[in-house]
């Protein structure tokens, strides 16, 4: 009987271990596949063409710079929009709202996270695009900033839920001490709770960045997809083309193994590296937080 239980334990342990390692295996396989399909692009397309400024693949112009800059522009815009809303909501839910309101708001925010991005894109085309054109008197509403607004909406739930967790992890004794010293509620939030949760909030923002970076459908529908170099002062209010939208709209047509196919995978490698950098930043920030917490406790 006892022996059975031990061997059952071992089997379960083994299965769980395999599950744990499998995610590493999958990431490695995906990376290897990307490298295998994408690296030949460096041999088949000249570097000058590949890092050029013209993207028109059916005439062998494979300049990926406008796409990289387009993605960065839209993502930065999304974070500028999502940051105040996301962190503000997290502070409200964790520090200010009565329990019944936060119990009501949290599921609603989770629903926002669950809305398919194609639906957001559809709303974007019908509502946000004409609105942006009229408000800012633009030639067209299909612009980088329209994409940023939708991506901001997509990133907000991530920032809210992780940011709120970080704030909830601040020991209540910190707040009690601040209040006992005569600080107002706002002084407590701004001077004590937020700094104590700083690293967790940074993690929330980084994961929000990652969410915005990889989003495809909504961006493809509202940014106009014109592969221009976004280097003018008003580029934020002009159309751009992102890396994800390029892969999504062109992967279906390419002949397997052609230069265009390899360049699309090369773009995939660059996206992988950017999101890897974002994730490493996020996790290094949260590890630092843990070390600091250990120091305080000891």
């Amino acid at each position: 009987m006892k022996r059975n239980r031990i061997s059952g334990d071992k089997i379960i342990n083994f299965i769980i271990k395999v599950c744990g390692y499998s995610s590493i295996l999958f990431v490695t396989l995906i990376l290897l596949f990307l490298l295998r399909e994408g690296i030949p692009a460096l041999a088949n397309v000249t570097l000058k063409n590949l890092f050029g400024t013209v993207w028109y693949p059916i005439e062998e112009y494979f300049g990926i710079l406008p796409l990289i800059l387009g993605t960065l522009l839209v993502t930065i815009g999304a974070i500028i929009i999502a940051l105040p809303f996301g962190i503000g909501t997290a502070i409200y839910l964790s520090e200010i709202a009565p329990k019944w309101i936060s119990d009501l708001l949290k599921p609603i925010i989770e629903i926002l996270a669950g809305i398919p991005s194609v639906v957001l894109g559809f709303i974007g085309i019908l509502v946000v695009v004409p609105f942006m054109r009229k408000i800012f008197d633009l030639p067209t509403g299909l612009t980088a900033v329209t994409g940023s607004i939708l991506l901001g909406l997509i990133a907000i739930p991530t920032i809210v839920s992780i940011g709120e967790d970080a704030l909830n992890n601040v020991p209540p004794s910190y707040r009690q001490a601040a209040l006992a010293l005569g600080a107002t509620r706002w002084q407590t939030i701004w001077g004590v709770t937020l700094p104590a949760a700083k690293n967790g909030i940074l993690t929330a923002v980084m994961l929000g960045v990652g969410r915005a970076l990889g989003e495809t459908m909504a961006v493809m529908m509202v940014t106009g997809n014109a592969p221009v170099m976004p280097v003018k002062w008003n580029s934020f209010f002009l159309p751009v083309r992102t890396m994800t939208a390029t892969i999504a709209s062109e992967m279906g047509e390419v002949a397997t193994g052609s230069a265009h196919y390899q360049v699309l995978f090369f773009i995939g490698i660059i996206l992988f590296l950017i999101s890897l950098a974002v994730n490493i930043t996020a996790s290094s920030v949260s590890t630092r937080q843990r070390k600091r917490a250990e120091r305080i406790l000891s």
Partner: protein, 268 residues
Amino acid sequence: MNSSIQTFAYIQNKGSDTIVNLALAWAEAYQKIKPDISISVTGGGSGTGITALINKTVDIANASRQIKPEELAAAKAAGLNPQEFIIARDAIAVIVNPENPVQHLTIEQLSKIYRGEINNWKEVGGEDRPIVRLSRETNSGTHVYFLESVVRLGNSKDKTIFSSDTLLLPSSEGIIAEVRDNPNAIGYDGLGYVTSEVKVLAISSQATPDVFILPSADTVSNNTYVISRSLYMYTQDIPTGAIKDYLDWILSPEAQLIVKDLGFVPVN
């Protein structure tokens, strides 16, 4: 029992978004005549359809352009012998917002607009507004046709490409929606997709720049409207059995009547 197995067939049909509605209408009508035949139709673009044909995942590829030499080579390398069928003709309508006072353009003006040489509507007799150029994505046969016949005016040595600020929209619906809402926009799309919410421009040819013609079945048939093209279906090899029957039926007067109903131009 045995005969029912022999007549049952499943035909996979994929490709051009221009043709997809027509192909669906044909498939529905044909399945009524021959209930044993099951036809699945999907879009995705001409390039997507031909790639699928080369990868042997479809029986018939729809294309709004001819197969490219490199695609033909890839198909031959895969052991195929693609066969071409012209199944209908199509006019490409140039569309603007109904508020735009411009009624017609010469094909040179249209070419200059898409090359980025004309950037304001007042240069072609309209209001002082910036021109926002809309196009389908590069995987669309309509895009390739428009590049060759309009932007380059049919000159195969010309290597000009679309102005880089041309908006590449993923669907016909996206183009119609933006033209409907935006008085700065100009777009193009198959005549069958044009709705009454946008305005179709009359276009003149290079030979007779003063004669502006609106696209219609008649002006395509008598070759007076210049931006028109043939629509194609490709099979993996010389068709046999159910696929041959289906293609024969598509070219029959009965099926070509459906072509006219959907705003395309019959081949005969």
